[in-house]
Amino acid sequence: MSDRPLPFDGDDGADMMAAEYALGVLDQLGRARAERRMTEDPHFNAEVHAWEERLAPLADEITPVPAPAGVWPRIAAALAGPASQEAKRWERQTLWRNLGFWRGATAASLALAAASLVLVLLPPKQPTRAPITLAASLAPPDAPEPYIVTVDAKTGVVTAPGQPAPDPTRSAELWLIPEGEKPRSLGVLDPSRPHEVKLSPELARRAVEGAVIAVTLEPLGGSPTGDPTGPVIAKGTLASL
């Protein structure tokens, strides 16, 4: 059975699929397709969220029903579960840079998020080697917290604070993008410890002032292709200190 496209259907009816997904009328296969598309297509992702917002006031008409008493204790128990004490402590001591910061968050929303920070940030461990000569600041100027990646020109070692990826199903991967060249991977950021990588002589030659350092969101374990496949969530330019 063919459905004639509506006059205002743009972009292969993708906008309509976004609306249908948000409304909930797609079957299991349709939902899986839409969910995959949301991870691959930022415009589609944004359109789904826009539709969720448009339809959201309908939920006002749903009568609230008090949840059974046993639900919260089960949730709390699940939270306390698998994470080790140390991993939890480290998580509490680290600023969570959520995707909202990088996606053009407004000053107001950043101020709100900053107001919600009740934890003290521990500074990254200072390296004990020879003085660092190049650094890139990857955080936006109005971010509550700097994120500095350093390159020791003598040893060719790159150091970056460890960070969890904003999305637990993805990995944060670090890249060096020399001027006019394609990105080179510097490895996947480990959420639990600072990232240190020694550059090959060929890469070390390119880690110079003006080269860009960036972080992208990749599938778990890093880009499967060797090139960035996910969105850039942070970037900065190397400059000498």
Binding site: D3, L6, M16, P57, S116, P168
Partner: protein, 183 residues
């Protein structure tokens, strides 16, 4: 507490959840669990399943709070969308397709009640006004689909109209809604 203040509290609480503050997740739960349980029940029509899904919803909020952009959508919109999505996923995964007769006992009330928990009254008013501009079939189909989480097929069965017709009502309705809301 005014709706605006409640919304800001919720926004800040979600920010703390992203920082792994479990007490903040409990705050979010206390503020929103009745609404989200209602959403789940409406779609699942099964109390035990709705309980299961509600649990999954808050664990999902715990895992994904870092993705919530406070500048973009209101916190209750985001939370309700998480709840609806998980409930609909659960329905879709059921071994037998959910029968529209399941809903007979809790039929959608045709006259909308105005329980504005945290959405702004303005948003509610605008959506209601735009829905009223649609042809009745479109508006009813959209509302039923939203509340019940039906597939197109189940919706057509429930309404008792051909699949193609129902798709047309929904799609035309959604297009017109968008145009109306963007005015």
């Amino acid at each position: 507490m005014t709706p605006n203040a409640a919304r800001e509290d919720l926004r800040l609480a979600l920010g703390r959840v992203a920082l792994r503050d479990a007490a903040a997740l409990e705050d979010v739960y206390r503020a929103t669990s009745s609404k989200l349980f209602g959403v789940c029940l409406r779609i699942l029509h099964d109390r035990e399943e709705a309980e299961d899904v509600l649990q999954e919803v808050y664990l999902s909020v715990w895992a994904k709070a870092g993705q919530y952009d406070p500048g973009r959508v209101s916190p209750i919109t985001w939370l309700a969308a998480v709840a609806r999505n998980r409930a609909i996923d659960r329905v879709r995964a059921r071994p037998r397709p959910s029968s529209p007769l399941d809903a007979a006992a809790e039929a959608a009330d045709p006259s909308p009640t105005a329980i504005a928990l945290m959405e702004t009254d303005e948003d509610s008013r605008r959506l209601r006004a735009c829905l009223e501009e649609l042809e009745t079939n479109s508006a009813d189909a959209i509302r039923t689909a939203f509340f019940e989480g039906y597939t197109y097929e189940a919706l057509a069965e429930r309404i008792g109209a051909p699949l193609g017709t129902v798709k047309g009502w929904i799609r035309r309705g959604l297009q017109r809604l968008k145009g109306c809301l963007e005015r």
